[in-house]
Every structure is written in C-alpha cells, then in structure tokens.
Amino acid sequence: MMEGGAKKELLRVQHLKKYFQTPAGLLYAVDDVNFSINQGDTLGVVGESGCGKSTLGRTILRLHEPTSGEVLFDGVDIMRLNKAQMKEKRKQMQIIFQDPYESLNPRLTVSQAIQAPMIIQGLYKASDKEGLERRTLEMMDLVGLARRLVNTYPHELDGGRRQRIGIARALALNPRFIVCDEPVSALDVSIQAQILNLMQDLQQELGLTYMFITHDLSVVKHLSTQIMVMYLGQMVEMGTPRQIFENPCHPYTKALLSAIPIPDPAKKMERIQLHGELTSPINVGPGCRFAKRCVYARPECFASSSQLKEVEPGHVVACHLVEHTVDEAGASGLSE
C-alpha cells in the first residue's frame, strides 16, 4: 500500500439508523453506525447473517431510506438530495450483488445489461448504437469477459461470468465508490479467487473505493485496509486487519475468529464457546446486545450498552470489559 500522506476521506457515515416495522415489533437492522472510508481504501464489513451488514450497504446507497442519520459522500449529505440530484450521485456510487443468478435481469443480453445504466443515466443516447457498443466492449475487456459473449443471456453463462457482468454493469458509470455485497459467496473457490483478483486489479487501475460486505473472514482479511465487525445492527469493533486479527478485543470478534476452520490439519482449532445462537434485533432492550451469548458477561453488560473505546490508534471496540488503554491525547500523536 502506498501511504503517501493523509488520504482523502470519501465517505463518512454518522449515526446511521435503519429500523424496520415487523409484525413482531421494531427491528433494529442498523442502529447508530458511525465510520468513514478514505479514497482508494477497502472497508471490510463482517458479521453473521442478520447482523445488518447488507442493510447497511443498501442504506448508504439509499436503496433503503434510513430512519435517521447522515451519509456524507465527498462532504455532501446524500440523504438530503432530491430525486434528480440523487440520480446524478448514483453515477459515483454503485453496488455489486451477492447472487449473480438473481442480480441480472434474465430477459436482457450481456450488452443490454451493461448498456442499461449508461442509457438510464444519459451518458449515451439509446440511438447512439456505435458509442454504446464501443463502451460495452471496453467494459467487457476490462472485466475479462470474452467479446463473443456480447449477445448471450445470463442463463447461458456460469456464475463467474455472470458476476463479471454484474461488475461491468456497476463500472459502466465510472463510479468512485462501490458497495460489494458478498460478491464471491455464491461462487466456487477457484472462480472466487479469479473475481477477487479482478476486483483488486480494478481498484488499483481505477482508484476505486470499496465497502466489502462478507461473512468470510479470510476474504476480508485478504482485501481490506479497514475491518468493521457488526453484531445485531451495531458495530462492535473496527480496526486494521492486523489489529483485528492479532489483537481482537471484543469477545464476539474473538469467538468469530476462533470459529474459522483452518485449512491445516496440524493446527487444531481452539474454539471459544458461545451461548446459543444469533437472534434478530427485534425490540432490543438496553445493554450490550452480545451479552446473552458472551461467556464474560457481567451484570453491567445487561444494564447499559457500551460506548466505543479506542484501544489503540484506529482500533475501536464497544465492550464494557475493555478499558481505555490509550489516552485520547496520546493517540492523536501516534500515527500508523
């Protein structure tokens, strides 16, 4: 990583909340999440199913309207934009979906799928066949799709190629920021590696900023410059991959890391026990949301929710058991 001076901040999320009304009560899918991403970085968001990571990604793009909070993109709060302004902003913020079988319109050919965003956004007129075609082939070359596939339909292609179409569609508008919602989870390992490499290459070539949502901790470690761990709608820990993997502070992060099956028979796992299973964040009361499953839980964990504390520069944890180990004044003097 080139670390020439301070990087420019691209995205800042402040007090973002997204609640859903369900028959069982209010579901706190995203509850007061704060973070920022610098230009050219990759923020990895990890958590188990139902932790709100996908909702977070979609809310940042305003595919869901947030309950409250701000999303500053380049310093502008996109939640205040009107329809036309938001449409304009979408050129810069795109998304790649998890399931390449679900995320492509089965009635559109490869070229139609890639061209749709450009026509919708008015980059090209629908009548400008030549311009559209040139740009389509350019995009196909960029993501490594053979040109002969230009008129095929998604159902004729395998998962890896479909995901390449999904990437080309997202890139067609020349975005600066892409939310990647589990883009490789549905793919086989050998194809997964191809797509991960492609995404890394594209990031370098085009200077993209990623928010990479996944449940796969090894993938997140491989790609990210920052990692955020979510549990039941809240951020419980955030730091660099080294901080998270070598010095996990939150009991949930520890349990998550200890549960990864290591592909090495010589290294047996020592799993940290968790009580019970993840529930959904419906009608949550006060207190730490992880307390019920936490082996270290103390009375105060059930009584009040914990604030984020900085345990080392750039490494924050929300847990009652973690003390301030770095005083704020000292922290700002240190740099990574």
Binding site: K87, R107, A116, P117, Q121, G144, L149, Q194
Partner: protein, 305 residues
C-alpha cells in the same frame, strides 16, 4: 501479466449464437406434441373465423343468408348424410355451416373478453403488487368482494341490467375474470419486485416506469400468459352457457351455445344436433387447456422435474 488471467476471447469477433428465454420456451413447447396439437386446433379455429368473415364480406353475406340462417324445412332434423355430413337442425339448416360460422362468436368473444379482463386485472394487480401496503389492501379487498359473487350470476346480472348486445356480453364475461387475473398478476409482480436485479436497476437510477415495463413485466409475464390462455377456455364455456340460457348471442346467429339450447327439445329424435356442437365446444376448450398446460411447462421448466 494481470490481463492474462482474464478470459481472452479466442474468437474475438465471432459473437455467439444465443437464445433468449422466450425462444427457449418456444423450443421446449415444440417438443410437447399434445400441446402443439391443442394449439394447432385453436389456430385452425382462428383461420376458420377469419375465413368466414372474409367470405361474408366478399359475398356481401350471401352465403350467410342462404346457408347459415335460411330455413329449409324439408330437411328439418335430417340426420348426417353425404350432402350434410353433420346433418341439419330443426329449421333444416346445415349444422356444419352453422358450426363453421359460429366459430367466430366463441373465439372472438372468448379472446377479446379475456384481453379486456387482462388489461383491467393486469393494471390493478400490477399496481397492487408493485406498491403494496395500503394501495394493495384497498384494491385487493375490492377484488375479494367481486370474487365472492359466482361469475355466472354476475354475468347474467350484467347482461340483464345493461341489455343484450355483443359489447355487454363481452363485458359480462370479462368483469368476473378481472379479480382472478388481478390476483395472478399481483402475485407474479410481487415475486419479481423484490428480486435483486430490480434493486440493481434502482441502484443505477432507473425510475418506477422503466422498472415496471423493462424489468418487472417481462419477468412476470409467464404465469400471466398461462392463466390467460386457460381462462379463454372457461370464457368460451360462459358464452355457450349464457347463450344456452337465452341471454347470450341471439338466434338466428349460429352461436354454439344457442344451437345446443335449440337442440335440447329434439334430443330424442335428432341426437346429432346437440352432440355435435357439444363435442365442438368440448374439443375447443380441451385444446385451449392442453395448449395452456404446455405453455406452463415450457415457460417454467422447473415445474416438470
């Protein structure tokens, strides 16, 4: 180096031949012999209706007047013979001619009434399914009220209230089908609405209109087509039923149901007058159902295995 890993088109400029989902479905449909037979029969009926209309237009109704509606009492209730292969009816009219000229009523009213129902039901169902919530609730509860009235009763009520005309007949058959089709369309739209490719379209800035017409409708169409084609069969039965009750197409027009109605009195003396039109109705509806079933299998290949 890096590029090497990406797929390199060996046949760079040779675009692959490929088949869309509709073409794929047609390919599967063609393999289903029974369904194809049903469709062929329906197509023959369509050709017959058009041909008889053209003949009437060219001959200025001469054949219609001389062979279809003109009474010929000497041949009254004559059985099948070489001259009249399906025999003659109570006024001595050739049944074959009457059946051929009657095709247009069944087919035209059946198809057009379902098209009307499809436009009405499709519009209501699509709105209910796409927007959901209160809109959905209001529309669907009204549809439920309509559904609670038996369709034949509603048809009779409409015709008696509005008077006996072709247009009212169309309406009386279309209206009871609207809630049924609205339900299908709504369910189908809802199943597509939340799929990721719709969200993907939203993410690039597409508006509701584009999403509905380019993303949702083409993908929601398959079950709607199937249902509509199956409903045409029941519409044809309704027309026959109404005519049988004497409030459908009025005599002397050779509507199949009204032929049956007239034949009722002579069932013992001349079986052919009731059996042949009856068979005709049966085969037509059967063909439509077979073709509809075939369409369903072709459009949704997962159903078969």
């Amino acid at each position: 180096m890096k590029r090497k890993e990406r797929e390199v088109g060996s046949m760079a400029n040779q675009a692959l031949h490929s088949r869309g989902l509709w073409a794929d479905a047609w390919h599967r449909f063609k393999k289903n012999k029974v369904a194809v037979a049903g469709m062929v029969f329906v197509l023959i009926l369509v050709v017959i209706s058009i041909a008889t209309l053209v003949i009437d237009w060219v001959t200025a109704g001469e054949i219609y007047n001389n062979y279809v509606t003109k009474t010929n009492l000497p041949m009254k209730l004559a059985g099948p013979s070489l001259e009249h292969i399906f025999g003659c009816d109570e006024y001595g009219r050739d049944i074959l001619f009457r059946l051929l000229w009657g095709t247009r009523y069944s087919l035209f009213i059946g198809i057009v009434s379902i098209l009307i129902a499809l436009v009405g039901g499709g519009f209501l169902g699509a709105i209910a399914g796409f927007y959901g919530g209160k809109v959905d609730n209001v529309i669907m509860r009204v549809m439920d009220v309509f559904l609670s009235i038996p369709s034949m009763v509603m048809a009779i009520a409409i015709v008696t209230a509005l008077g006996n005309s072709i247009f009212n007949l169309l309406l009386s058959i279309a209206v009871p089908q609207i809630p049924r089709l609205a339900r299908i369309v709504r369910a189908s739209v809802m199943s597509v609405r939340d799929r990721e490719f719709v969200e993907a379209a939203r993410a690039v800035g597409a508006d509701d209109g584009l999403i509905i017409f380019k993303y949702i409708i083409p993908n929601a169409l398959a079950p709607i087509i199937v249902q509509a084609s199956l409903t045409v069969g029941s519409a044809i039965l309704s027309i026959a039923g109404l005519s049988f009750l004497g409030i459908g197409v009025e005599p002397p027009a050779p509507e199949w149901g009204s032929i049956l109605n007239a034949a009722r009195t002579y069932m013992r003396d001349a079986w052919h007058i009731s059996v042949i039109p009856g068979l005709m109705i049966m085969i037509t509806v059967l063909s439509l159902n077979l073709a509809g079933d075939g369409l369903r299998d072709a459009l949704d290949p997962k159903m078969k295995n």
